[in-house]
């Protein structure tokens, strides 16, 4: 990232784009990413198919051109979130190996767990077979590393890096440059996968300032069903960067239930990019629960690419201390008869900051579509800060679109009502906050996950911040 003075210079002479690129290339953090990439490529490259090597190298070049996003020049997508702390730190890429000591109990404590679930564990982005447990039920559940080496992996060649476009996004480009491992899930036609598949992405934090690039490709065939849970968990308090990309492609008339649990350590940075592409009559429902990370971004794009497709995107964020959590939801109604529903709730304490920016785009031919967008915020501290921007861009006339946002404190009269009945302030507050959050938590279907999230968010722990 150039210094302020340099930035000013660049702003004044926007045609000096090339100088800007040269400047960022000379910046220590970018140099580090570049040298890490070169080392990484030299170690791993030979055995990989050509298309993968090409993709990586294009992505690496693109990252050097794009750099990290800034709010400058009217970049509305990053208006309220500065990634300067990431750009200014130096993270090193250090893939963990099977020999790294990870205690299974540690994982059990910090992630929801059910022995019925299929579990894939990734330590700093690398698959750990010893910690994983797979129930075979006709679904392809493998690590990317195991099938990428296969030169016959046509399906990966066509689909990997197809939904998450790295041409326009620095973080996705960086992730793609280091693409080597992750999860690949494919549900064949007609299979209803009843057991949830749990992807656990651990940030081991065994050394300071490590960067990891987890990746997942999830695909469903016709008339199939899938429940998928992503957990991002930090095991130590060491600061690190998790830059993840998940691509989801739903086949015709398939249903995907998606959960995303963010519980990284308090000092870490998390950039989560999820790109979803829906086919005819398919449905995607997602609930994201954000608790951890110092600076977190949940960047979710859904393309309603065929008539009859729909999605509901729900989310809950609870922020404390000086946390910054940004939910960016982008929904593209590209075809007629599509529907989308966004519903986010946030509880803010201490001097934390939450950002919600949702964008609904209804293209010209998206007639007979519905969209709704809501973001409700509860501010429990005077120093907390919320920025919400539920925006709509509508080019079709026969549609219905509504959006709403609120922000405010716990209702005084509700508190009064309870206190007048002898409930102390603390308990009354907890009850109200619990009531507020449970609307989202109760929607979580897998019981163990719901229980885990409920415990994590039990208002008691959070109310202590007030």
């Amino acid at each position: 990232m150039p210094k302020p003075a340099e930035q000013k210079q660049i702003q004044q002479y926007p045609n000096l784009r090339e100088i800007y690129i040269a400047l960022i290339r000379n910046y220590p953090s970018y140099k580090k990413y570049q040298s890490d990439y070169e080392t990484f490529v030299s170690q791993i490259n030979r055995s990989d198919p050509k298309w993968l090597r090409d993709t990586r190298s294009r992505a690496a070049t693109r990252f050097q051109e794009l750099g990290f996003p800034t709010a400058n020049h009217g970049n509305e997508r990053w208006k309220y979130t500065s990634v300067a702390p990431i750009a200014h730190s130096i993270f090193k890429y250090k893939p963990s190996t099977d020999t790294d000591e990870i205690n299974l109990d540690d994982i059990r404590h910090s992630t929801p767990h059910d022995k019925e679930w299929t579990k894939l564990v990734f330590a700093d982005g690398c698959y750990r077979q010893d910690l994983s447990h797979i129930h075979q039920n006709g679904t392809t559940i493998v690590s990317l590393s195991s099938c990428l080496k296969d030169p016959e992996s046509r399906i990966l060649k066509t689909h990997l890096a197809r939904y998450a476009d790295f041409e326009g996004d620095g973080f996705t480009a960086l992730n793609t440059a280091f693409l080597t491992d992750g999860a690949f899930i494919y549900v064949p036609d007609g299979i209803e996968s009843t057991r949830p598949i749990h992807l656990v992405f651990l940030s081991t934090g065994q050394s300071q300032h490590t960067a990891s690039y987890p990746r997942a490709l999830i695909m469903t065939g016709r008339n199939s069903k899938l429940t998928i849970i992503e957990s991002y968990v930090g095991l130590t308090d060491n600061p690190g960067l998790t830059n993840t990309v998940v691509e989801i492609a739903a086949g015709e008339n398939s249903k995907i239930e998606h959960y995303r649990l963010l519980a990284e350590s308090a000092e870490s940075f998390h950039i989560g990019t999820t790109r979803v592409n829906l086919s005819r009559d398919s449905f995607f429902s997602s609930i994201s629960i954000s608790r951890g990370a110092k600076l977190a971004r949940n960047d979710l794009n859904v393309i309603l690419g065929a008539p009859g497709s729909g999605c509901t995107i729900k989310g809950l964020y609870i922020t404390s201390d000086s946390q910054h959590i940004d939910n960016h939801i982008d929904i593209d109604h590209a075809t007629p008869h599509t529907s989308s529903d966004q519903y986010f709730k946030g509880v803010l304490t201490d001097q934390s900051r939450a950002v919600f920016s949702g964008r609904v785009l209804m293209r010209k031919n998206a007639q007979k579509s519905n969209a709704s967008q809501k973001d409700l915020n509860l501010l429990l501290s005077d120093k907390a800060r919320v920025n919400t921007k539920p925006s709509m861009e509508i080019y079709a006339d026969d549609v219905q679109a509504v959006h709403g946002a609120t922000a405010g404190a716990v209702a005084e009269d509700a508190l009064m009502y309870m206190r007048s009945r002898g409930i102390d302030k603390h308990t009354a507050m907890s009850l109200l906050v619990n009531g507020f959050t449970s609307e989202i938590i109760d929607e979580i279907k897998p019981a163990y996950l719901r229980g885990f999230v409920g415990k994590m968010f039990s208002a008691k722990g959070n109310i202590n911040h007030i």
Partner: protein, 486 residues
């Protein structure tokens, strides 16, 4: 009893729906095209401005040059690059000798031009109950009802007169709400503004009549840069109206105005705009680029600012009348109807900045898109940590007519105080088939039914307008929508 009078104007150009497309052949005093320090000095000299005013202009000009030739592009509007060196920055109707001392000295052609617009300036024909400051190509040509206002101690005069006669007020308030460095267009305006209106309402005075400024662009290839400053002293009240038209020209015209309002303790300012600049033809050729900075400061306790706007004209509207709610218990209101048809583009909204305690703001914005028009509501509500018990209510509704237009809503909400209450809601839809059917099966034609429904949609805003304007606004909507429905 106020005489009931609709500001209806005669049609002079039958070929188009735009009634005010005529232009008047008047000798104009023009600065050469282009912008440099000498032009700024030239404008200042033309107006016999004191040194401090010139300094301020030059400061603005230098700041503008520093920004480079890059107008802001973040708004959802699309226009070609403007060549700022291809514009006349000063055009004034040529006056014989010095400024006209009375109406008799005003060029008769000019009086006639305003008569055509329905704004008679002659003493015997004046509009009852409205004092008008007529601004022709950025120069104030006449102000009616001067005497009556003077008796009440109210200052209502052109900006150039105010600079000379009331320097202490000007130095105190000019640029206090919109500083010269505010944004690209405000900076440009600060450097080259030619005229505008200045209003000062003394303490505990209720302005007895409505004040009005009527803006008219006439000359070709000119930019219009006027500046309005209204100061309402403690306990005073004023209602101010603004109307505007321009002739039909093939090339686009730039209008970059600045409006500043200051309300002190217990004062109230009501500012209404009926914007009907030439919108360009059906293919989007010509029309006015309306890049306006309007901001009010509710400085004193219990002060109140109310913006009402009906935007039907302009090829491009880029305007965000905003309120800085600084005084405790101050109130800000924004009521807006923005209509786009053919190739018009509008990116408009408001900005409410809550600083004082118990401050309250209400935003009601209605957007109507027809033809190939694109309409964006962009509004920012920020509640700062000091604004205890601040409340905001925002509602924005969009109506789409036809499948080639766009309606967008981009609210920015920032809350930094836990005692704040902020609510935002918005909806977008088309005219409902049920309502249309209901009206039509009672024998109302489809077109008429559309007008009825649209009128109802805007009713809440129109009722905020002063009576004369409300009638006018209804008519205007109808004319602007011609050909879009039915």
């Amino acid at each position: 009893m106020v005489e009931r009078r609709v500001i209806s104007r005669t049609t002079t150009n039958l070929e188009s729906d735009y009634k005010y497309g005529f232009y008047t052949d008047i000798d104009a005093d023009m600065a050469p095209k282009g912008l440099n320090e000498n032009i700024v000095k030239f404008i200042s000299k033309k107006k016999n401005e004191p040194e401090w005013m010139l300094e301020w202009r030059l400061k603005a000009y230098r700041h503008w040059v520093k920004q480079g030739d890059q107008e802001p592009r973040w708004a959802n509007v699309d226009f070609p690059h403007i060549d700022y060196q291809d514009i006349h920055y000063y055009a004034a109707p040529k006056s014989k000798g010095d400024a006209p001392k009375s109406l008799e000295e005003v060029d008769p052609d000019l009086v006639e031009a305003f008569n055509k617009l329905g704004i008679p300036l002659e003493e015997q024909k004046k509009m009852t109950g409205v004092a008008v400051d007529a601004v022709f190509d950025s120069v104030s040509v006449a102000t009616t009802y001067q005497k009556k206002l003077e008796d009440a101690g109210i200052i209502f005069c052109s900006m150039s007169e105010a600079v000379l006669k009331h320097p202490s007020l000007m130095r105190k308030y000019l640029g206090s709400v919109v500083p010269y460095s505010d944004n690209f267009f405000a900076t440009l305006n600060s450097a080259v503004f030619s005229d505008g209106s200045f209003v000062y309402i003394p303490p505990n005075t209720r302005c007895p009549i409505e004040l009005m400024t009527y803006f008219r662009i006439n000359a070709e290839d000119t930019g219009q840069f006027e500046r309005t400053l209204i100061v309402a002293d403690e306990g005073s009240y004023v209602s101010y109206l603004e109307g505007c038209t321009a002739p039909m020209r093939k090339s686009s015209q730039l209008h970059a105005a600045v409006v500043e309002l200051v309300a002190l303790d217990n004062a109230e300012i009501k500012y209404s705009t009926l914007q009907n600049w030439y919108p360009g033809d059906k293919e989007g050729k010509g029309g006015v680029y309306n890049f306006v900075t309007k901001r009010a400061k509710a400085l004193g306790i219990n002060s109140k600012i109310s913006w009402t706007q009906v935007e039907t004209g302009s090829a491009i509207t880029w305007k965000y009348p905003s309120v800085i709610l600084q005084g405790d218990n101050s109130t800000g209101e924004f009521y807006s109807v923005a209509l786009v048809n053919n190739r018009q583009q509008a990116d408009t909204g408001t900005k409410m900045t809550h600083i004082g305690k118990n401050t309250k703001s209400t935003v009601v914005a209605k957007g109507i898109s027809a033809g190939h028009g694109n309409n964006t509501y962009r509004g920012a509500i920020s509640i700062l940590p000091s604004a205890d018990n601040a409340t905001n209510f925002t509602q924005c509704d969009s109506l789409l007519i036809g499948d080639q237009c766009g309606a967008h809503t981009v609210p920015y909400i920032e809350v930094r105080n836990s005692t704040a209450r902020m609510e935002h809601e918005a909806s977008t839809s088309k005219v409902s088939d049920d309502q249309l059917f209901y009206a039509m099966q009672r024998g109302i034609s489809e077109e008429e039914a559309h007008y009825m429904i649209i009128n109802g949609f805007c009713r809440g805003i129109f009722k905020e307008l002063p009576f004369e304007f409300a009638m006018e606004a209804g008519q205007l909507m109808r004319v602007s929508l011609e050909g879009a429905v039915g």
